[in-house]
């Protein structure tokens, strides 16, 4: 059901935890649906220096969280905002169709964290917004 990549990220998740003095916090999902992701980021010089996650959810949700925190490290905010849920799923070698909708929220949590950071900085969002709906297209 899950790719080896998913299982690897599920079994050895990268960047678990919470940055105590985070520059941005993103929380998405709903415990009623069984998936909640919290991503905390540290920003330095317009780049994401650190990202950590905490996730309540299925194997896919945990792997997605792990993968997105890995993908984003060192990226500029603009680059980070371009990471889509679909891109995260692709980086994991794909997800079962059912999981595309509900558990594939990593990029959303990341964006929320960046938005939180920008808000705190009193800045708006950069112009380009990746299609956040795209993740579910092939299910």
């Amino acid at each position: 059901m899950y790719t080896d990549k998913v299982m690897d990220h599920f079994t050895n998740p990268r960047n678990v935890g919470e940055i105590q003095d985070a520059d941005g916090v993103g929380l998405v999902g709903n415990p009623i649906c069984g998936d909640v992701m919290k991503i905390t980021i540290k920003v330095e010089g317009g780049r994401i220096k650190d990202a950590k996650f905490k996730t309540f959810g299925c194997g896919a949700a945990i792997a997605v969280s792990s993968m997105v925190t890995e993908l984003v490290l060192g990226k500029t905010l603009e680059e980070a905002l371009e990471i889509s849920n679909k891109a995260v799923a692709d980086a994991l070698g794909g997800l079962p169709p059912k999981k595309m909708h509900c558990s594939n929220l990593g990029a959303d949590a990341l964006r929320k964290a960046i938005e939180d950071y920008l808000e705190k900085q009193g800045k708006g969002l950069p112009e380009s917004r990746p299609d956040s709906e795209e993740g579910g297209e092939d299910s």
Binding site: Y2, M7, F10, T11, P13, V16, E18, L27, G29, N30, P31, I32, C33, G34, D35, V36, M37, K38, K54, T55, F56, G57, C58, G59, A61, I62, K98, C102, S103
Partner: protein, 408 residues
């Protein structure tokens, strides 16, 4: 790696004796029981013998047993077959909210065909209240279907009492005994039911074969139409090997039922006690004592069932979250929700169902591995932080407030 199979409620490993009994019918004894030459009569005789064994195990008559292609098919046939055959008596069906989908979806299908249904609630232990059954009966009620024991939480229902009520009101009564047949004593006369479903693979028989017992005189419309097999009640060339396997498995299970019940109950309670002692924020689902000897069902708060299962699988422990049939779904178990558990707690369910091969060492292994896995997942959970190490089982309200604090 050690393999600890604790998903015996989902399916069981066929016994060696079962496979040996089946093999001739996949080989030299391959005749079609409907044909008339000796080789075919031999297959027919094997079917008759199997029918006799199943009847004996249920304290029923051989001609009351109809073999089917699964427990699910038996449930479909019981519910739709009774409804259609007796629709002149009424078009209202009573069942419970915690039935297996084979029953629930059959009833829902009938709702689309002009029947009415009542889905009775259960209490926090997953128990149906016979008074609710009685109160739901109307002049139009034609069938009541309440499962003998629930597949997820193991609660054993007061079938005799409900059957008595049904009889008093002249309503037919079906029970889905897929989880109990071969596991707790069944005497159809004593239970007082009119129809009873069972499935071979739940008691160490093969998959893809079940049976429906229909009390003599009870009218059931044929569900699978065609040839005259099974006394013209269920068409299709018989799965001779499967039927023979089911019968042998049932005979053996019933033969050792008493010892197995004692052994499993002890192991089960040992597991429950061990889990509760070692892991905080866990609740036992289902009734504390009126439960299947092999069933344990827990909710581990702050974590989600699938990631728990995957983690257990990594160390060779096979369990399930909700029922096997719904484990591919994202919805939490309808059974746990009906018992009043909030969604976020229901998501964290784990069923470990013990069986014939389960040893005390298996349980010790689970007790050794499970606490670490739960801790690790909780450490990953955004809810974990707020959790005090208080090991008292938090009630549903506390959970609700915890969740609300996240403002979702």
């Amino acid at each position: 790696m050690k393999l600890v199979y604790l998903d015996n409620a989902a399916t069981t490993k066929p016994r060696q004796e079962v496979v040996e009994a089946m093999l001739p019918f996949l080989g030299e004894r391959y005749g079609n029981p409907s044909s008339i030459y000796s080789m075919a009569r031999d297959a027919k005789a094997a079917l008759d013998e199997a029918r006799g064994k199943v009847a004996k195990a249920l304290c029923a008559r051989p001609e009351e047993i109809i073999f089917t292609g699964s427990g699910t098919e038996a449930d479909n046939m019981a519910i739709k077959g009774v409804a259609y055959a007796n629709s002149r008596r009424g078009k209202h069906i009573i069942t419970s909210a915690i039935e297996h989908h084979a029953v629930l979806d059959s009833v829902k299908r009938l709702e689309k065909r002009g029947f009415q249904a009542t889905f009775l609630p259960v209490d926090s232990c997953g128990m149906v209240d016979p008074k609710d059954v009685e109160a739901a009966i109307t002049d139009d009620t034609v069938l009541i279907s309440i499962m003998h024991a629930n597949n997820e939480v193991g609660t054993i229902q007061p079938i005799e009492t409900i059957a008595h009520i049904a009889k008093n009101h002249g309503v037919l009564f079906h029970t889905d005994a897929v989880q109990t047949t071969g596991h707790i004593p069944i005497d159809v006369k004593q239970l007082g039911v009119d129809l009873l479903s069972l499935s071979g693979h739940k008691f160490k028989g093969p998959k893809g074969v079940g049976a429906l017992w229909v009390k003599k005189g009870v009218k059931v419309e044929r569900y699978i139409d065609g040839g005259g097999q099974e006394g013209n009640k269920r068409a299709g060339t018989e799965n001779v090997a499967g039927i023979v396997g089911l019968a042998v498995a049932l005979e053996l299970s019933v033969g050792e039922l008493e010892q197995e019940t004692a052994r499993l109950t002890q192991l089960r309670d040992y597991l429950i006690k061990g889990v509760r002692e070692r892991i905080p924020h866990v609740r036992l689902n289902g009734h504390p004592t009126k439960r299947l000897p092999g069933n344990t069902s827990f909710c581990f708060e702050f974590i989600e069932g699938e990631s728990l299962l995957l983690s257990l699988d990594k160390v060779g422990i096979c369990g399930s979250s909700g029922s096997a049939c719904t484990s591919g779904s994202l919805e939490p178990s309808h059974v746990l929700l009906a018992m009043g558990l909030p969604h976020e707690i229901a998501h964290g369910s784990l069923r470990l169902s013990l069986g014939h091969e389960t040893t005390p060492q298996d349980i010790d292994y689970v007790l050794e591995m499970l606490p670490g896995i739960v801790s690790r997942l909780r450490a990953m959970s955004p809810f974990g932080e707020e959790v005090s190490s208080d090991s008292a089982c938090p009630c549903a309200q506390e959970e609700h407030s915890l969740v609300k604090s996240h403002q979702f």
